[in-house]
């Protein structure tokens, strides 16, 4: 087959030529330092849980620092799922906005204020977590009550991310004013769509915090309405996973094809899938509440179907990303129906990380579809299947992709070269192998009925038939610990390495599309119709139930008279 190339247009070349200023490098780097530190601490705690499943209780030796399995699990969840992701994503969106548009932030002070707000919030939430005053895991399920500082701190992290999101939007608007008629560059547009989706989605958790949890934790109110709190929480809880995932998609669509030596297969469909995520990421929260008592079955069923709808853009992504990779592989001389996969640059640690992340994400997607399937949820709800599932999605598809991004981003920001490319490649494979073992065992345990969030090593109801799977969880977790240590080694050595000449410093990979993006229809470049549609869909899918639950709100659950952990 012949493959002809479209030369980069003048505007594309000009945009990509923009050099980050010293301030921009430090600002983005600041986000990454916090993100990677959170990942390091959170991931080192993870194996403690995995080993507990085989009755290896390391917590007893950590008594002065970590009082219990649950405090460790709280730190693991909050640091990895909330802090690592949010700080990385906001930093990365700064990058895709600035480099994507080829211009500085229009209001850098706005982003600075947002970042500082996030840091203040993080410190405020970290203190009670470390003092064992907020051992409530990362779900805000009253009347399990954490310290007020935990709730206020996490609220500030979200508010800070809103402020930074505003900064991205203002920058895109300024660019559009100066570039009328030009299609917004994909990576910049996609980052802003994600920020907009996040701002809509976090309204749920904001209302939960401001109207229920914060007044209650300060003692202004005595009790809570746990059912309503759950509805608020899951309004945000599921779009949260798309907030994590979409930046990985930005890289898979907009960068990985370039790194693999190819182009983006379809600019239109990449945009379409992002708009669809804006539309249907949020009105799906009841699929986390399938077995809740207070929500009518028909609304659960509607949200199940809407969750199926949000699966569709991920199916589009699968085609477009794999086709972009195949195009790259064929250009590199790859042949055969499946043999072309070998021609991809598997010696590039950033590519390998993202390819392996994508492979496991296919299985994460299948598990997610299963979770969303209405009554099938009865089989796996709140079982070990669920953490098994999200360790394929957030802990691999997202985290391993972000790790892959740092393999070029950190050296680029610091003017250095990546240290230990082979170790970095091996790191991704180690993560992959560890996660396959860990998550498969967790899925199996879930099907057998093992509960999630539970130290199964000390649980009294564990039958012998679970033991093999429990052991595999521990083995997988230990392999993952090795993968984390390898990653930290590569990062520390890279950061401490010498500066190198500009030609040796990695460049930001920005994939051009096979077709000129100017051929993409205008309706795939406009916020207004999609935001209106998202608002209408949200009102229809959530409005009646929210109104009903708020009207019938009953603040009658005070919780326990003692601290339950």
């Amino acid at each position: 087959m012949t493959i002809e190339e479209r030369p980069a247009t003048a505007t594309e070349t000009a945009r990509q030529g923009y050099e980050l200023t010293r301030w921009e490098r430090r600002f983005i780097g600041g986000h990454l330092i916090i993100a990677i530190t959170a990942l390091a601490i959170g991931s080192l705690i993870g194996p403690l849980q995995a080993l507990e499943f085989s009755n290896v209780d390391l917590y007893q030796y950590l008594e002065p620092v970590l009082k219990s399995y649950y405090q460790g699990l709280t730190l693991h969840g909050v640091l990895n799922a909330l802090v690592w992701t949010t700080f990385f994503i906001v930093g990365f969106t700064n990058l895709t906005t600035i480099k994507g548009l080829g211009r500085p932030l229009s209001n850098p002070k706005v982003n600075q204020v947002g970042f500082i707000t996030m840091i203040v919030g993080l410190v405020m939430a970290a203190v009670p977590m470390l003092l064992n005053q907020a051992t409530v895991l990362y779900t805000f399920y009253p009347p399990l009550e954490a310290s007020w500082a935990f709730y206020c701190g996490l609220t500030l992290v979200v508010v800070g991310s809103w402020i930074e999101g505003l900064g991205f939007y203002l920058t895109l608007r300024a660019w559009r004013r100066d570039n009328r008629g030009v299609r917004s560059p994909f990576i910049a547009l996609a980052g802003v769509i994600n920020a907009a989706m996040w701002q809509i989605a976090t309204l749920g958790i904001a209302v939960e915090m401001l109207t229920m949890l914060i007044p209650w934790s300060f003692g202004i109110t005595d009790a809570t309405d746990p059912q309503l709190a759950r509805t608020y929480f899951w309004f945000t809880g599921h779009p949260l996973v798309y907030f994590w995932l979409l930046p990985a998609y930005v890289s898979w669509y907009g960068m990985l094809p370039k790194q693999a030596g190819g182009k983006l297969f379809s600019d239109s469909l990449a945009r379409l899938s992002f708009w669809m995520f804006l539309l249907v990421s949020v009105p799906v929260g009841f699929h986390h509440q399938f077995v809740d008592p207070g929500i009518p079955q028909v609304w659960k069923w509607i949200h199940a179907l809407l969750t199926y709808a949000v699966f569709f853009p991920s199916m589009l992504t699968a085609f477009t990303v794999i086709a972009s990779l195949e195009y790259a592989a064929r250009r590199r001389g790859g042949t055969g129906l499946i043999g072309w996969v070998r021609a991809l640059p598997w010696d590039d640690p950033s590519v390998t990380a993202q390819l392996l992340a994508g492979i496991l994400f296919m299985f994460g997607g299948i598990g997610g579809l299963t979770n969303a399937s209405y009554n099938i949820n009865l089989v796996i709800h709140n079982t070990a299947w669920v953490p098994g599932h999200f360790h394929l999605t957030v802990a691999t598809a997202v985290t391993l992709s972000f790790i892959g991004i740092t393999y070029w981003l950190v050296p680029m920001l610091m003017g250095k070269q990546l240290w230990g490319r082979k170790i970095a490649v091996a790191q991704s494979w180690t993560w992959f192998v560890g996660m396959v073992i860990f998550s498969n065992a967790m899925h199996m345990l879930g099907l057998l009925g093992a509960p999630r969030r539970t130290p199964l090593g000390e649980a009294l109801y564990v039958p012998d038939e679970w033991n093999g799977h429990l052991l595999r969880v521990s083995i997988g977790g230990t392999i993952l610990l090795v993968a984390v240590l390898m990653y930290l080694l590569v990062m520390i050595k890279t950061v401490r390495g010498p500066k190198v000449e500009a030609a040796l410093v990695p460049q930001m990979p920005v994939a051009e599309s096979l077709r000129d993006p100017q051929l993409t229809p205008v309706w795939l470049d406009r916020f207004k119709p999609w935001l209106i549609a998202a608002g209408v869909l949200l009102l229809l899918s959530y409005g009646p139930q929210l109104i009903d639950q708020i009207v019938h709100m009953n603040l009658n659950a005070p919780g326990t008279s003692f601290r339950p952990w």
């Binding site: 002809e4 085609f319 195949e326 064929r330 499946i338 996969v341 299985f363 299963t370 009865l378």
Partner: protein, 54 residues
């Protein structure tokens, strides 16, 4: 959703200058669909085997 709009442009690929046919992609995705059906159905069967709840 959106498919009617897409169908309006069903023959527009001809304006593309390249002739790349993603056969390998189709093959990989065929395997993917088979895996989805297999794994999803296996949990569906577990549901059916564990008794009604009404």
């Amino acid at each position: 959703m959106g498919t009617t709009a897409l169908d309006d442009h069903s023959d527009d690929v001809s304006d593309s200058t390249e002739h790349f046919k993603p056969t390998g992609t189709v093959f990989v995705l065929a395997l993917f669909v088979a895996t989805i059906i297999l794994l999803w159905a296996s949990v569906y069967v577990i549901l059916l085997s564990r008794g009604v709840t009404l």
